[in-house]
Amino acid sequence: MFRYFIANILGKASALALKIMKRRIPYYPGYIALKICPDYLKYVKKPKTIIAVTGTNGKSTLCGILNDYFTSQGLYVINNKGFNIETGIAAMFLSQKRRADVAIIEIDEQTTDKLFKYITPTYYICTNLFRDSMKNNSNIDYNLSLIKNSIPQHTKLVLNADDLYTVALGEKKDNIYFGISSKYDHGYASHIFSDLVYCPKCGSKLHVKDTKYFHIGNVECLNCGYTNPTRDYDATISLEEKLLYVSHNGKKYQFPLAATSIFNIYNYLAAISVILELGYSEDSISKFLSSAHLIQTRYRESKVGNLPIIVYMAKGQNPVACSSVFNDVTLHDGKKCLLLMLDDVMDRRDSTETISWYYDTDFELFNNKDIERIIISGARSKDVYVRMLLAGVDKEKISVLDKEEDMASVIPYKDVDKIFVLHDITLYDHSCMVVDKIKEMGEKLW
């Protein structure tokens, strides 16, 4: 306990020092606390409601939605905001001014065993499981086993019924399943790979009834009958009405559709499921969703003249995240100009980045007549160019540049209806700079 008190004092002091120095290293106070007291998380004041979120994609977005909702209800919420390993989680608890009402904890798949030694979440959501970064996550089998072997006994799992890998986490428990039973017309099935081809039970080829994206969807084994579990929160999407209908226990709820991307609809559905489980009203959720927006670092829109600039984070080394964003871009109307910045800024500083994930990513989606120009920049731009050509993209449409700074000057402003900036998670600041340059250039034209 003595170590805990010292860790608390020095951790908070380091947070104050960072604030004075105007340095933004949110996990650092947690690093200090854990250095002094390795089992710091055992002693922290734990809120009554703890919602943990893991999975390959959507963790930060889902946590952001939950954080915003509970805050909108007047509760004191703590959230580790993407800093999803032990240090970030410790820093989150350090930041508590008093015992919080709710903790929303994003957890990296490889941190689950360390965290759950000390913390038992009320609800534990797994968004989805896919192949991910080769370096960090090895393969989907490995991630599945890491999560599965660390689930606390008394936590309630909230699982994506449309992802049979996620479903495999909860085979022995009374779980809550969310999913979308209606067809989704904007999905595509011709991915360069699928992580789920054969039945996990008998090994026969799975029959895909409908695909939402990658292996997420309604599937059935025609040999042994294995299929998605019954959805406790069963959603139907109406893109025309911009509504999400959710059936639960015989009751039908209706919510504004706060996003049109299928992967974000799943994020909203997971949030709705947990919020309803906690007994909050349909009205409060509807009111929240009618003005909800995704976190700024993931998606933002602005304009130059009348030309929309849409910025997506396309998480590098993560093929499903990138392919999903690529697909979303192609669903927009009109002629498009794409600016791609997919390098990992940490990697390119002193190494040469692995690019094998390009060949797990659906660049084939850019072989599309509505894409007028593709501008690639960064240390690996020549590799992206080769990938584009192998995907069948017309080389006349592609510009290859070394520096992000130059991208704005080659946009055919008058020939396109929308500009898309797709950037890696580490290039958020660069994306802001590029958008500023686009506005600068564009304003001279209008």
């Binding site: 393969n139 040469t352 690019i355 080769v386």
Partner: protein, 231 residues
């Protein structure tokens, strides 16, 4: 010419679909057979000139080993007869005596090469790679991401110039069997090697996007040659 791609629907980890893309883009005038995990390999009953197998998850690796084990004598004879094989990533392990997986189980390999492998997912090995290939004046570039360690004897494919573990050799090369742990995808990252490999199959044209691949190769080679590169 008949080219057989084994189990592409599941043996496509770490970007090895890129190798398949290169094969398809350049050798499309030939008969390319894609064999699924539920099919009998085409080479069992037909003459095949080139067999490709890519990286896979450990659970798939076990299945592939079980699927191919009954055909080990046929595969051995094909190698002896000079049929070309390219096995990338952990596909190479299948050709060894056994693989011991993280769950403690051991699965018998085809036993064609003197390799034993042990998977340890918690201690994975990552490194950039620079090496040489006999008879090619351009170096080989690539990456390694291994959750298993294989004890490889003689008959290496590449000599190592740079790698984190200071190994001296990489992969296996026996007759026309080419096995390597290198990822990349190797055929995309190494257009000169790819060209030489395809030439052995009788392909003497220019590779699809060859100039662009060489451009990307030169940039990567220069980076890897830098003595300050973080491997």
């Amino acid at each position: 010419m008949v080219i057989e791609i084994l189990y592409p629907e599941v043996c496509n980890l770490y970007g090895d679909s890129g190798n398949i893309l290169v094969i398809e883009k350049n050798l499309s005038s030939h008969n390319i057979i894609k064999t699924t995990l539920l099919d009998e390999p085409y080479f069992v009953k037909h003459k095949v000139d080139f067999v490709y197998l890519g990286s896979m998850t450990p659970s798939i690796e076990k299945k592939v080993m079980e699927k191919l084990l009954p055909y080990k004598d046929i595969i051995k004879k094909m190698i002896d007869d000079g049929v070309m094989f390219l096995f990338t990533g952990n596909a190479l392990e299948i050709m060894g005596k056994s693989v011991t997986f993280d769950d403690g189980t051991t699965t018998l390999g085809l036993g064609i090469f003197d390799i034993t492998s042990k998977v340890d997912e918690n201690n994975r090995y990552h490194s950039l790679f620079l090496g040489t290939y006999d008879g090619l004046d351009k170096d080989i570039v690539g990456y390694k991401c291994q959750s298993s360690v294989s004890s490889i004897g003689n008959d290496s494919l590449f000599k190592v110039t740079k790698e984190l573990n200071n190994a001296s050799c990489e992969g296996i090369h026996v007759n026309n069997f080419y096995g390597t742990n290198l990822l990349g995808p190797i055929l995309v990252l190494n257009p000169f090697f790819t060209k030489q490999l395809f030439a052995k199959l009788g392909y003497d044209g220019k590779l699809f996007a060859e100039d662009e691949m060489i451009d990307a190769y030169n940039k990567r080679y220069n980076e890897l040659s830098n003595e300050n590169i973080k491997l």
